[in-house]
């Protein structure tokens, strides 16, 4: 019997998710033994035509990382959806929009202007902006269209499962691959990790007081962080209480606060709003002015609370950015 075929693809992402696959280390040998990787642009030389020549549904599974910003990414996602029995949104960008999704706080025009005209390192005297079609001596040159906003994978195609994280923790990847191979799968739409808050698996959880209150907010470089005590108890903004478990509190083990890459639990629609509510409730004051002073210690609330999930949020992008 031939081995099940799988594909990996990347959209608007940094390449860290590909790195996570390599981080499987020895476990990757088991994966390679069990499946046939037929498409993986970062590592193997296959072309789009190789995917097009597959039968519909011939791929047992396709892992897609990255958000969707360009027409090329959208086309590839649709093509892979047709060829794959199961599509897994791999990593924060694909799951919730991720870091590239923060671009939704700016309009398409301001992004192009900044990148091609205004950035201090740019030398573009002819003020050339990328165009979808441009005439050259060689003929008509084309580029993929750059859309108004970054979308999550499931705002683009139907998604079967989600592997959260920036990048997804190795144990979650291994568990997901084993589940796919054995056919022992949870209901469609499941995020393939636990459904409790990160605090539940944090080694510092015992030092979290019954009633947390933030008398001040410090950024990690402003104090020497105690490596055993709950970070919120030390006044460092940690998003563990609003974030899903599954990483074994990896950042906390490195003495850094959780920034929320695994996204919300299944009970929450909008991660950033929920995290904002959770942190705001802990501010230790009942006086309007004092509360405002404390809140100003978070200089970039959208970037802090929606670091990985802006495109999946209720607002999706800055007001007035979309074309009507």
């Amino acid at each position: 019997m031939s081995k099940p075929k799988v594909a990996f693809y990347w959209c608007a992402s940094c390449g860290g998710c590909e790195e996570a696959v390599v981080d499987l280390a020895d476990a990757i040998l088991g994966v390679v033994e069990a499946v046939d990787i037929v498409f993986w642009p970062v590592a193997l030389d296959f072309k789009r035509s190789d995917v097009e020549s597959l039968y519909d549904g011939e791929l047992a599974a396709c892992f897609i990382n990255g958000g969707i910003r360009t027409s090329e990414q959208e086309e590839m996602a649709a093509l892979l959806r047709r060829k794959a029995q199961a599509v897994i949104a791999f990593g924060s960008c694909s799951h919730l929009g991720g870091i590239p999704g923060l671009a939704n706080l700016y309009s398409r025009e301001s992004i192009l202007n900044r990148v091609y005209l205004e950035a201090p390192s740019v030398d573009n005297r002819d003020r050339v902006l990328p165009k979808e079609r441009s005439e050259a001596d060689e003929g008509m040159l084309t580029l993929p269209a750059f859309s108004d906003s970054v979308r999550t994978l499931d705002q683009t195609i139907e998604v079967d499962y989600y592997l959260p994280g920036c990048p997804p923790p190795v144990t979650l990847i291994v568990n997901a691959v084993n589940a796919l191979l054995s056919g022992n799968l949870p209901p469609k739409g499941t995020v393939l990790t636990g459904d409790k808050a990160l605090c539940s698996e944090c080694p510092r959880n015992a030092t979290k007081p019954e009633k947390l209150s933030l008398k001040e907010l410090k950024r990690p470089h402003q104090l020497i962080i105690d490596s055993k005590t709950c970070l919120l108890n030390q006044g460092v903004l940690c998003l563990g209480p609003a974030t899903r478990c599954g990483c074994n509190a990896a950042c906390l083990s490195a003495n850094m606060p959780c920034t929320g890459c695994l996204g919300p639990t299944s009970h929450v629609k909008d991660y950033g709003a929920k995290a904002l509510s959770a942190i705001a409730s802990l501010l230790d004051s009942n006086e309007a002015e004092e509360i405002a002073t404390l809140a100003q210690r978070i200089p970039d609330p959208a970037g802090t609370f929606y670091r990985y999930s802006l495109p999946a949020s209720l607002l999706h992008h800055r007001a007035g950015n979309g074309r009507t």
């Binding site: 705002q155 629609k269 909008d270 709003a273 929920k274 409730s281 007001a319 007035g320 950015n321």
Partner: protein, 156 residues
Amino acid sequence: MDEQFEPKLIGILCNWCSYMAADLVGTSRIRYAPNIRIIRVMCSGRIESQLILWAFRSGADGVLIGGCNPGDCHYQEGNYKALRRVTLLKQMLPQFGIEPERLRLDWICASCAEEMRKTVEGFTAQIRNLGPLRLQTPPLLKPIKIEMEVSRHVEA
């Protein structure tokens, strides 16, 4: 003359004070601007940011939160939680191109019908001046299915 812009406002009011005040406005036959749609909740501390953003996403031009006066919360400190959330949320809204004035928090006691009238009239006028909130979701997005699971909802 141009047709006057009529804002859509959502009022989320606490059962024990502001909602009672709004009720009293009605039974006293006091008139105020009809732009506000009122939702009753048990405590302003229950109103978390998702609900406010959901209102904006669903087409509200302004959101009014009503709670008990400081020290008067039926559940002791729900109104302080509302104050903390609204303060931080108002700090974030401009990053989304939403004027912070579109979100307003007021303490209105159960017998304060006149204050309720003034608040709603004032808020309506203020949002009318600001104009409509242009927050369109891109047509490519499938509509979000919103099922707020109130009973299963657990505060982290």
